[in-house]
Subunit: 217 residues, 2 copies
């Protein structure tokens, strides 16, 4: 697969089939992850694959608890407003329903990918590796989506996964994976010229970008 | 370019030629960056390209100050130990010399890519975008390397770049770019089985991974 096809079509895929991910595909995902850069090439990372149904079933209620907590606290007002005026809050409701779908079908993911980091305050030494894993998954036809929600129940998460609490490892994110039920496509984004500057904050780029630069056609 | 070639060979490239990066390549880099995922598709990001020699020359001494400070504080003991026993500290000295090279030749980079984020505590919503930019750069033959060093002189950095200090934007990283003088290759990494677990922390994957899975040959 061409690199641009991977970069443009690796969108969040939360609706997946229960089909298992073969070990040779798991190997490609992990081997791509470790190719990422890290500060001083420190490689302060650990990756965990979970395909044991029992472990996935133990994590599922935790994920749902975290989701409920998020939408009854941080996003509570926004959710109430969105429920009152759904047509004006389409993007928010779409995000809510997608996160909710992950919770409702958590037991259906055939593979979970988890990333942990140490000595990486900015996230700059772990998220390129996570994204590499997701791009390699895409190249193999496997969908994925990043979530850091388990953070709200991190002690119980660590207990289920056997993560030591005294070695300095920090949970970076959970990436459920599976073969998607839907089709790959380019996700909607604000165009480059609205989020990019040249030489000074607020200054225009000075060149146009056809939108999008790459397409499947 | 095949996606795996990009994932495997996008290594830190700090030694580059002064040749300018054409605008159509700059466009590809930015358009790839915005394809990355972000929490709730919030896209809380701003990207800045700097190719104005004056701005690069203003940032250069700041970068060198930050570098000096890093190696006279955080890494001071390690650097002293490494200078006493260079043969035992090859990896550290390599990293030091590479960072030093960036400082000594900062004015020679034809293009700087900077990323800023808002509402992203983990880095999970900005570093996939940064890494996308670097992968697209690689696909176009442009080398790059992440550094967050300017963090130590962030107020002066913001002043030079005109970044508002009251809008909640956080500097994520600086990525100097340029056509490399050296050759692309797969960077050394600890193998997957040393940094990956299956179902429980510390548990082996249960499958072997040929090292590396991909090669240029």
């Amino acid at each position: 697969m061409d690199v641009y096809e991977a970069l443009y079509t690796t969108r969040a895929m939360r609706r997946v089939k229960p089909d298992p991910i073969p070990e040779e595909v798991q190997a490609k995902i992990l081997d791509a992850a470790i190719r990422a850069p890290s500060g001083g090439n420190s490689q302060g990372w650990r990756f965990m694959l979970v395909d044991d149904k029992k472990v996935i079933e133990d994590l599922a209620p935790l994920y749902r608890e975290c989701l409920d907590r998020l939408f009854s606290t941080v996003y509570n007002d926004q959710l109430e407003a969105a429920n009152k005026a759904p047509e004006e809050n389409g993007e928010f409701l779409k995000m809510y329903r997608s996160a909710k779908h992950m919770g409702d079908h958590f037991e259906g993911y055939p593979l979970l990918f988890l990333a942990f980091s140490r000595g990486d305050r900015s996230g700059g030494s772990i998220f390129p590796a996570v994204w590499n894993a997701m791009l390699a998954a895409r190249a193999e036809g496997v969908g994925s989506a990043i979530t850091s929600l388990l953070m709200f129940e991190i002690e119980k998460t660590y207990e289920i996964l056997g993560v030591p609490q005294d070695k300095g490892w920090t949970f970076a994110c959970l990436v459920p994976m599976g073969y998607p039920t839907g089709r790959w496509g380019v996700a909607p984004r604000r165009p480059v010229h609205e989020v990019s500057y040249k030489n000074q904050w607020g200054a225009p780029l000075g060149f146009d970008i056809p939108e999008p630069l790459w397409s499947a056609d």
